[in-house]
């Protein structure tokens, strides 16, 4: 019973992610492509939930769905409308796109088969957020604090971008 439910959710997510990803890649309207990407990213969060990576799922929703996608949409709205109607698709862009996709797939393929995956999928999975938090406050304390410095650098960078030109 549990396995059947798992399989149904899994394949529903597979369909959702694949269809929306193809839509994001091929839709002519760039705003609609960004909305298609929303479903791709949300589906990925669903996969994380299925794999028991609850913290990763939350991060995916908060950062990618709620943050980066908004940034992407704002980026689209900032561009001039004429860019949408331009013929951007040439044979060159397709070749470059396929080449880039294969490159990313190659990296993923390498790690998929060179890393040992310790957790069997069907095992009942425990919540991971508290454990990650404890590790972050003990063993990985330095990366935790360094990450705040990284965010600080990004903030200063953002402020630098909007500095007054005359000062």
């Amino acid at each position: 019973m549990g396995n059947v439910v798992f399989a149904i959710i899994f394949y529903a997510l597979v369909v959702m992610v694949l269809v929306s990803a193809v839509a994001a890649a091929f839709l002519r309207n760039i705003v609609m492509a960004a909305f298609a990407l929303f479903f791709t990213l949300l589906g990925m969060a669903g996969f994380y939930v299925l794999l028991g990576a609850d913290f990763l799922a939350i991060t995916q929703v908060v950062v990618y769905v709620g943050g980066i996608l908004i940034l992407l949409l704002f980026g689209v709205l900032l561009t001039h409308r004429s860019i949408e109607t331009l013929e951007l698709e040439t044979r060159g862009t397709y070749v470059l796109g396929i080449f880039g996709g294969l490159l990313v797939y190659g990296v993923l393929h390498y790690f998929l088969f060179s890393v040992s995956w310790p957790t069997p999928l069907m095992k009942p999975l425990e919540p991971t957020t508290a454990a990650i938090g404890q590790l972050l406050l003990s063993k990985y304390l330095l990366p935790f604090e360094v990450s705040s410095v990284t965010l600080l650098i990004a903030l200063i960078g953002a402020a630098y971008l909007v500095r007054r030109r005359d000062t």
Binding site: L137, V149, A159
Partner: protein, 120 residues
């Protein structure tokens, strides 16, 4: 583990379902006698000028950028808060979070001082 997500699933189901249901309902039982006035975006407002798809002010992008950075900060605070239940590390964890937020406050003050939050 998956059972724990059932409330989340219900929330998604009700959220999407309610929107789809009300739209379908109004589509099927509503009367449709369109006139140009009824079809305008604001039936009793100002007449629209041009399309809605204009080039937006660049300032929005910066606000989104800053939002994303503080969004990341929220993620760190979230795992910290969940781990905080463990009594043995509470004092240490509190100090660590104060350091973390202080570093980011420096950035916040800098952004504020530079006028990035000002709408001009």
């Amino acid at each position: 583990m998956l059972q724990a997500y059932f409330p989340v699933f219900l929330l998604l189901l009700f959220g999407v379902g309610f929107a789809v249901f009300t739209m379908l309902l109004s589509h099927f039982i509503g009367k449709k006698k369109p006139t140009p006035v009824k079809l305008s975006p604001y039936e009793c407002g100002i007449k629209p000028i041009g399309t809605a798809r204009i080039q937006f002010f660049v300032k929005f992008y910066l606000i989104a950028l800053l939002f994303l950075l503080f969004d990341m900060e929220t993620i760190f605070i979230l795992i910290w808060a969940v781990a905080f239940h463990d009594k043995s590390i509470q004092v240490f964890a509190l100090i660590e979070m104060v350091v973390f937020i202080t570093i980011l406050l420096v950035g916040y003050a800098y952004v504020w001082r530079k006028g990035a939050l000002k709408w001009r």
